[in-house]
Structures are given as C-alpha cells and as structure tokens.
C-alpha cells in the first residue's frame, strides 16, 4: 500500500538538507516499526520517494513523501494511527499534517506538482517591493541567467510566475509568490533577480504545493483516499 504524507519542516530543522531529511525518514520509519517494501537488486533500499527538494535553510508547511507500506506485515487497524506514531519519533519541527492512501496507479510527486507558493521575507521595504512587483507583472518577458545541471542557461522566467502578493508585518516585508515547477522549477532565489533592483532574501517558507488538473488546482493529498485518521487533513 502506498501512503502519502504531508508534513511541516519548521524551526532549527530547516538547516537540514533534503538528503539529511531522507535519512531521517528512513530511520524514523524503522523506529516506528513501520515495515516497508524493499527494492530488488544487489543493494535493496526501502521504497520511499520524496517530493520537490526544499532548499536547505527554507521552512515549509507542506512537504510530501510517498512510502510503500508492507501491509502484509502491518495490522490494518493500525494504519490510521501512523501519523501519530511517526510524529512521536520525528525530530522537532517535523509534524505530520495529513495522510492519504494512494491509488494503484499514480504520478510521482516530482512529476505531478505544477506550482508552489512561497513566502519570501526580503530585506527591502514594502514600497520598493511593490514597485518591483509592478515591473515584474507588467513585463512580457524576464530573461535571467541560471544554472541547471551545472550549465549556464538563459531563460525567460516570466511564464513561471503565476501570482505575486506583497505583505507587510511590523517591519518585515514578505512576498507571496506562486511559482511554476514544470517543466523545471523556478527557484525563489532566481525569482528575486527577475527585475532590477534585485531583492535580498531573508527567510524562505514554502506555503503550498499545487497540482494543476486543467480546470482546477488541487493539493497532492487530494489524489488519494483519506483513511480514518484523527488528523485534520489540511490539503485544500
């Protein structure tokens, strides 16, 4: 059985890399005595797959992973309590906020997620950021140089920008931006250099991940069936 989890990554743990977190999950699943199906071959690994990597240092309210539960070795009645059992053994800052059972055939997280919303706290004041936003939104194209797979490429990133909002809270200015992740992700750091003067990131938080189905935007949990979990599923 494939289960999809939605989790947070907030606080000090934000400095752990994507690779570190993958190891944390492997160990936490073993600690929680949740049996996984292993891959075949010379060096068998438990079947876990992760969604889009989060930059080291960023926080998130919506990380996802899929894992292949070995349901022959696990009491069916216990499945719904997996989120509680796991949260207990996960490090501080990672909390499970949703779980669904995935259908037999499904598209991987990396391929299916089409856009994500970021909260980007920047150094500049709100007035300047508003101006910056207008430039970005009124431009037909935004050409930047970025590195992909070690190569410098020149791209128009304007089509990747779906929406921008600017919020002011006490003395902090935060941009809320929905950026597309297909065919390749636009990173928040690249987004901030879309127009001059470039903005400086202070803190980054992933707020939502979306899957565009053509006529509506859904969350990654909407593709699965909810289990009788006590958790409130906050997929929207």
């Amino acid at each position: 059985m494939i289960l999809r989890l939605q989790t947070t990554k907030v606080g000090k743990i934000r400095f752990a890399s994507h690779r570190d977190i993958a190891k944390v999950w492997e160990r936490s699943l073993r600690r929680a005595e949740i049996p996984l199906v292993y891959s075949e071959g010379f060096s068998p690994r438990p079947k876990i797959s992760f969604g889009l990597a989060l930059p080291t240092g960023a926080e998130s309210e919506c990380e996802y992973l899929d894992f292949h539960l070995d349901d022959q070795k696990y009491e069916t009645s216990n499945i719904s309590s997996i989120p509680q059992v796991l949260t207990k053994v996960l490090p501080e800052g990672i909390t499970i906020t949703g779980m669904v059972k995935m259908p037999k055939k499904y598209v991987s997280l990396q391929q299916s997620v089409t856009s994500t919303t970021w909260g980007i706290e920047v150094k500049e004041n709100t007035k300047d950021v508003q101006k910056w936003k207008e430039i970005v939104l009124t431009s037909d194209e935004l050409i930047i140089k970025r590195t992909r797979k070690g190569k410098q490429v020149v791209d128009d990133i304007r089509p990747y920008i779906r929406a921008i909002g600017v919020e002011e809270d006490v003395s902090k200015t935060t941009i809320k931006a929905e950026l597309k992740t297909q065919p390749r992700s636009l990173r928040p750091s690249e987004f901030l250099v879309a127009a001059k003067p470039n903005l400086t990131m202070v803190r980054l938080r992933r707020l939502k991940q979306f899957i565009d189905t053509g006529d509506s935007q859904i969350g990654p949990l909407d593709l699965g069936d909810s289990l009788d979990s006590d958790l409130e599923l906050c997929s929207s």
Partner: protein
C-alpha cells in the same frame, strides 16, 4: 542567572555557511538540560568538526552519566568550521553548545576529548572562541575550568600550561568524582576559597592530574623532571579503571545525528582493553586489562539500540573484535532477530586477518557490501615479530581469499613504516604482500584491487617503543617514494600515505614536554588550526615556532632515549610496569614475540596486578587462528569464533 542562548544571533548566518545542520543539535537522544545555577555545568567539547566529533563514544558516555546526576548537567560543543569561525569572530559570537546554544563561558567546566596530537591547536582556538584566556595562569575564579581526557592525555605535558586538569583512564567514575568536588566548591559559603584551592582538591582525586600543582625543572641533558609543589599533591597519578564494564551499559541512548557523520551507525562496545600486545599500539597498552561484556548484554544493547535509533547497521567495537568470545552468538542472533525492522548489517571494525574467514565474509555486511580493511602493519614476518603483530603471510592470504571469494573486489591494507629496525626489505615487503593479494583476487575477478595505506610510525608513551627515535622526515619520505616506485609495477595496487610532515609534528608532541605549550600557542596565533586536515596542515608554522622558542624538533622526535632518562610522563601511571615495557623493547630488538596473556600464564605487565583484578573473559580457551600467541609452538586453542554460518537475510 547565567543561561542565555546565542541562537538568535547565529541563525541568520547559517544560510551562508557550509553544512549548517552541524550547528543545530536536534540529534535523537540529545537532551536540553534545564539549567540550574547550583548544578555543575559541563561543556563536553570535541576539538574538531561535528562530523568527526559527534560519534565519539567517550563524550556520549559522559554526556549521559552527567545528565543523570542530580548535581550536574552536560551539553556538547564542536569546533566550528573555518567559514563559521570567521563569522563568529566578526560578529562576536562565542563558542556555543549545540544542545541549547548556550555560550561556552557560562559553563563551569569545558572538557575536551583528545584523540590526536594535531587537534591541540584547535583546543586553544576553542578556548579563545569561548572568550576564555588560553593560559591557565591567566584564568580567574569566574572562568570555566578546562579539563581534558582521551588517549593523548597519557602525555599531556605540551598542554600543561593550557589545561587545568587531565583525567586519566576510564571516565565513567571519575567524572562524578570531579563533579562532586566542583559542586562543593560552588556551594561553599567560604569566600576565602580560591580557584587554586579547588584545583588542589581536584589533584587529590585518583586519576586526576592537575599540572599547575607540579613544578618543572630540566636536567643537564634537557629532560623534564616534575615535582609536586607541596606534600599533599601525589607524586604519581594512577589512571582510573572501571572493573566491570557490565555495570556501565553506556551509551544507553546513542545520539543519532540529523546530518551525516563518520561512523554513522549504532556502536556497541563489546570489550575494552587488548592483550594482543602489539608493541607500537598505545591503545592496547593503556586500556588493559581486557574487560568483556557478556554476550547477553551485548545482544540487549544491540537490540534496544537498533529499535531506538532506527539505524540499520551496528558495529561491534573494540580493539580487536574477532577476539570477543561471544562474537558467534551475537552476530548470528542479531542478523536473525525477528524484531528487526528491515535488514540489519553488522560491521566488525578492527578485524584481525587470522580470524577472518569465508563464513565471516559471507555474514557481515549482509545488506550492503562496504569497505574491508585489514591491518597486517608490516611487510615481513621479521618486522611483525619486532612489533609483536604475529600474523603469518598465509593468514593474510586466507583472509583476502575469503573476501574475494565472497564477492568483494577491493580491499584496503594498512601498514606502518618507520618501525624500529626496519630495513628496505621490510618496506618493500609491503608492496610484495599487496601484489600477492591482487594476484589472489584476480582468480575471482579481473577488477580486483588493493589499496595500500601507509602511515609513518610515531612512538607513543607507555608502549615498549617509547624509547625509540622516530624516523626522520627525510627517511620516511624516502620510504614512501621507495614504495611508490615499487607498487607502480603491479596493476591493481594503489598506494595512499599519511603525510610524513604531519607524522613529524605528531612525533614532536607525542613525547614532548611543557616547553611545547608556547609552540602550540605560537602555531595557533599564526592561524595553524585544523592541522589534522591536509588542506590546512602547515609544517613551516611548527618549525618556525620551534625555532622561535629555541627548541630543536630533532631532539624531541628523532632521538633514541635510554632507560635512565626521565620521561615527561614519568609522574603518570598507565598501570604498566616500566621494567615490563623495557623488557618488551629489548625483546623487540631481538625479534622475540610475546603471547596473548588471556589464555597463557601472566607475564606481569602490571595492568591487573596493580588493581587486584583479572582479565574478564567469557571463554577460557583461546580462539583458533595463526596469530594466537606468538606462533612459537603454541596451542592453537579449541574455541573457534570464525565458524559462522549465517547467510539468511532478515527481512
């Protein structure tokens, strides 16, 4: 109350440093002690980066024992990497604990683990980053006490003017004794009590050496002699030894880091001490006698440890794990344990080639096939008799054949060069052994390769070789080149070597005296930190610091000592009789081997006799294997730990 945190000041900079996860703590098993002003607060510090320091079992054991005490609390710190250090210096952020990000100078004790001489300048750097004066004379009542333990403290003299106290031997008990003395001092109403009174009290504890309580003089040959400053100070400081390892099943909650570290697996110590008697090996000499854990306790520690940590690999650690009498049971039952969640693999570090067979090869590393290292140490039988590492060539070939036949394609062989009486024939013997190993491998796979790793020999205190003059830099370099030319002739042999320049510095410090304190400070102040890292090691800094202090490195490192010469560690007692070590040194030069005393009559090295204890070994008969004893007409024994037959994979 002093209980602040520097997290808010640090956090904003972590986005701009390499591997920030090493500064966040959050390890599974870590604690956030509630700070209590009356507690004795320890900052257990490893003076190298987190990835190297976190797995240190000694610090983890003390961390738990201290935090279990009602009058102590302990946190951990590691040396920040150079990028963060620069930021910390620019922004005035002090050294901090990773547990609660408390500044180092708010602790009562900063205690270091010293496992290599090359980290000494990092210790100084950590003190400076903590805002603590680096010389012990400059510290006053409000400054933390600076302590150190670990294998290097068997000659702590180079740090004698920097560190306040050293703890010799096993730390499990002495750490509580030290805590008690500091606690009494802290809670005392007597305002006339000074830091010096406290240090004097500490110096009376068994196993604790307070260098400021001893005055150093130098005889006409230049050798250092120490004298206690008053009658209350002991003339001889004996190391601490815990008699029953079974009473100390620590760490109970081994720390599982968030980010990758070295030895990233569950570690269970199966015994402490070793009586194989390799004459170059300081660890084997100073940790005697052998004290085993019962296989039942090992099994429990493995089982609960795997469950609690979520690791899928466990290492059974000791100085020579194949000698553990419960090895067969533990390996078999761990792999077959139905309570394992997923596959579990076992690694056995420090395997002797004479006990490595096809069956062990088949059973260990069953989930993943990682590296395999054997340590023949020397290239000829003659040389191995000198160092008392009595493994025969056929033992090595048997082990190598076992590994290749079980699918391994490459292995690592570890050797020392610069050993006493070594000739070029001995050095070249290393290349010959390696070539023969590759030839064996080629019978199984065309990809067979062997990496030869050579280290320059550094004579260590409390070993039979403590009187030996280390090979010069030029001589070691010549031997490395000799080997380079020789291995080039064989395809499949790769050579790696430890920088002979670093070996020289290790040699200066290993048997150095108090005068080297100023050399350390001088190297540190010229930027000489992270000397264990080849990209930062700089011999010139050391040579010019020695010159500046008017000291000859040749005198410290290259000179043979004789029996009459006072040694800088003569006031310390590692449990070994000096005449035993001297006899061993003479026997080494005569190429006479010495048997393992676990299964042969006692030859009175002093380790047991002095304490009225005995080797704690579960099996009364020795393991089968060529090396048992000297291979000089010895019984081969009857108990055979290598007959393991475990092939099933636990799923």
């Amino acid at each position: 109350m002093r209980m602040s945190t520097i997290w808010d000041r640090l956090e904003g900079y972590l986005d701009s440093v390499e591997k920030p996860a090493r500064y966040i703590g959050l390890e599974q098993g870590s604690l956030k002690p509630l700070h209590d002003e009356s507690n004795v607060a320890w900052l257990l510090t490893y003076p190298d980066v987190y990835e190297v320091g976190l797995p240190n079992q000694g610090l983890q054991i003390l961390y738990e024992i201290l935090n279990e005490s009602p009058i102590a609390e302990a946190e951990r710190a590691y040396a920040p990497w150079v990028d963060l250090e620069k930021i910390m210096r620019d922004e005035g952020i002090p050294l901090f604990s990773v547990d609660t990000h408390r500044p180092a100078n708010e602790f009562d004790v900063i205690a270091f683990n010293l496992s290599s001489e090359l980290v000494y300048t990092n210790l100084i750097n950590c003190l400076d980053l903590a805002g603590v004066p680096v010389s012990s004379v400059d510290r006053t009542g409000n400054d933390p006490l600076i302590g150190a333990g670990g294998h290097c403290v068997y000659n702590p003299e180079p740090l004698a003017n920097i560190v306040d106290f050293f703890a010799l031997g096993d730390g499990e008990e002495v750490v509580s004794d030290i805590t008690k003395v500091i606690h009494e001092y802290k809670s005392s109403e007597d305002v006339t009590q000074s830091r010096r009174d406290l240090l004097q009290e500490l110096s009376k504890l068994e196993g604790v050496y307070v260098p400021s309580m001893y005055e150093a003089t130098y005889d006409e040959s230049g050798a250092q002699v120490l004298k206690p400053v008053n009658d209350e100070i002991p003339e001889l400081i004996e190391k601490r030894t815990i008699i029953d390892l079974e009473e100390w099943p620590y760490p109970k909650k081994q720390l599982v880091p968030i980010t990758e570290v070295v030895h990233d697996r569950l570690n269970v110590e199966v015994f402490r001490g070793c009586t194989r008697g390799c004459r170059f090996c300081q660890a084997g000499m100073i940790t005697r006698p052998v004290r085993e854990r019962s296989d039942e306790q090992v099994r429990t520690m493995v089982q609960s440890g795997l469950q609690r940590t979520g690791y899928d690999e466990v290492a059974l650690t000791s100085l020579s794990t194949a000698d553990y009498s419960g090895i067969k049971n533990v390996v078999e039952e761990t792999i077959a344990d139905p309570s394992n969640c997923g596959q579990v693999s076992i690694s056995l570090p420090s395997l002797r080639v004479d006990a490595f067979t096809v069956d062990i090869a088949a059973s260990i590393q069953n989930a993943r096939r990682t590296g395999l290292t054997f340590a023949p140490e020397a290239g000829t039988w003659r040389m191995r008799q000198v160092i008392n590492k009595l493994i025969r060539e056929e033992d090595l070939y048997g082990a190598v054949e076992s590994a290749f036949s079980q699918g391994w394609r490459r292995m690592k062989l570890y050797f020392l060069i610069g050993l006493p009486t070594e000739t070029d024939e001995d050095t070249l013997g290393i290349a010959r052994l390696a070539a023969n190993c590759v030839a064996i491998g080629k019978r199984y796979t065309s990809a067979a390769s062997v990496t030869v790793s050579v280290g320059g020999f550094v004579p260590k205190p409390f070993t039979p070789f403590q009187w030996f003059g280390q090979n010069t830099l030029e001589e070691l370099t010549r031997k490395v080149n000799l080997l380079k030319d020789e291995v080039r002739k064989t395809k499949g042999v790769k050579l790696k070597w430890h920088d002979p320049k670093a070996t020289l510095v290790e040699g200066i410090l290993s048997r150095g005296d108090r005068r080297l304190g100023d050399v350390l400070k001088s190297v540190w102040s010229s930027g000489g930190t992270f000397q264990e890292w080849s990209e930062y090691f700089n011999l010139d800094l050391w040579i010019s610091a020695m010159e500046k202090e008017g000291l000859e490195y040749e005198w410290f490192a290259y000179r043979h000592r004789d029996l009459e010469e006072p040694l800088p560690w003569d006031h310390l007692d590692a449990g070994l009789y000096k005449d035993f070590l001297w006899q061993e040194w003479r026997d080494a030069l005569e190429e006479i081997g010495l048997e393992d005393c676990r299964w042969t009559p006692c030859y009175d090295c002093g380790a047991c006799t002095g304490y009225g204890l005995d080797h704690v070994v579960a099996s009364t008969s020795p393991p089968v294997g060529g090396s048992q004893g000297t291979w000089q007409d010895l019984d081969t024994g009857s108990y055979a730990p290598q007959l393991l037959q475990i092939t099933s994979k636990a799923r």
